[in-house]
Amino acid sequence: MPANKSEILQGTLDLMVLKTLESMGALHGYGIARRIEQLSDEALQINQGTIYASLVRLLQKGWISGAWGTSDNNRKAKFYSITKSGRKQLHAEAQNWERISSVITRVLSLAERA
């Protein structure tokens, strides 16, 4: 296992942000946070501010880019969009995630039967 709980959570938040940007196109921080909350059926209650730590990490790695723009209701906001290397990373990470989660599911169901 790679690291402690918080690091795994960090990684999953980054992954969710990448996925959101891939499917929704350019979005501001509020939009990304809203979208993740909606998709998780409000089960994932995060301080919306934590999304920005994820955005900084992704920006630094060059997986997303950010630019100031104007929102639907005419408000200035910084819009983020996924880059080419971000898409590549997303696909690699998504596969990785599926492999790990299927392994964990298998192990957990074994443990239950035993």
Partner: protein, 242 residues
């Protein structure tokens, strides 16, 4: 998330940039948070909250903005370096405020480093530094030892030397030398000089070449050969015609 070396390098470069010019980025992030807060407030008002209530709820939803700014700054910059510089500044300030302590610390360090350097220089020159000859590790100074008194090491008689040279199976070459202090006269003030009588193969053994002229050859050691001498560079320069 894992990433290649290039990704880590890009992230590091971005941190360095963030560290070099923190203010505009800070300002940028503050604007971003304001915008986010405004959107949250609008959402809350749409849901039927009063404006004051909406602002309060939005703040809670977003999280403590000072905290967010702090995290953002840490992620963007080089917190280790910043903390190190802070510590260094603090240390310097403390040193300036305690000149007595500073002086003692500096003197202790200076003496320690100085003594170590001096001792190491001597040890290096005497023990570690190889002799400036080819195959220095194969050069040995061979003594004779009197069998009745093990503590006395003596030189060799010529016959014993010749026996060692001709009969040993250890050394590929054996050369002999005998040192004398002699007085040099005939050129103004007489001077005391260090000299040595050496066997004809002496220079060949060290693989040493002269600055001028030739070194001794084995033929110079034959009985009846004309006497020859090699001068050290200093002596040679001293007696050069000007």
């Amino acid at each position: 998330m894992s990433g290649g070396l290039l990704t880590s390098m890009r992230a590091f470069a971005s941190r360095v940039r963030g560290w070099l010019r923190p203010r505009p980025v800070d300002h940028d992030f503050a604007r971003e948070l304001d915008s986010h807060l405004a959107m949250l407030t609008e959402e809350n008002i749409r849901r039927g909250m009063s404006p004051a209530e909406a602002v309060r709820a939005a703040r809670i939803r977003l999280g403590n903005s000072t905290c967010l700014q702090e995290t953002n700054r840490e992620l963007r910059g080089l917190p280790f370096l910043e903390m190190f510089l802070q510590d260094a500044r603090y240390a310097l300030r403390m040193l300036r405020n305690n000149p007595g302590f500073t002086a003692i610390a500096v003197i202790t360090l200076a003496l320690g480093i100085g003594a170590n350097t001096a001792i190491f220089s001597v040890v290096y020159a005497v023990v570690i530094k190889p002799l400036p000859y080819a195959h220095a590790d194969q050069l040995f100074n061979v003594f004779e030892q009197a069998s009745q008194d093990q503590t006395i090491q003596t030189g060799w008689s010529y016959l014993n030397f010749a026996a060692l040279r001709d009969q040993n199976h250890v050394f590929s070459e054996v050369a002999g030398t005998q040192r004398h202090q002699l007085t040099l006269t005939g050129h103004g003030e007489p001077v005391l000089i260090n000299t040595a009588v050496v066997t004809g193969n002496f220079f060949a053994l060290f693989d040493a070449a002269p600055l001028a002229g030739r070194v001794f050859s084995p033929a110079d050691g034959n009985v009846g050969a004309p006497p020859v001498v090699i001068l050290g560079e200093n002596l040679w320069r001293l007696y050069q015609p000007r």
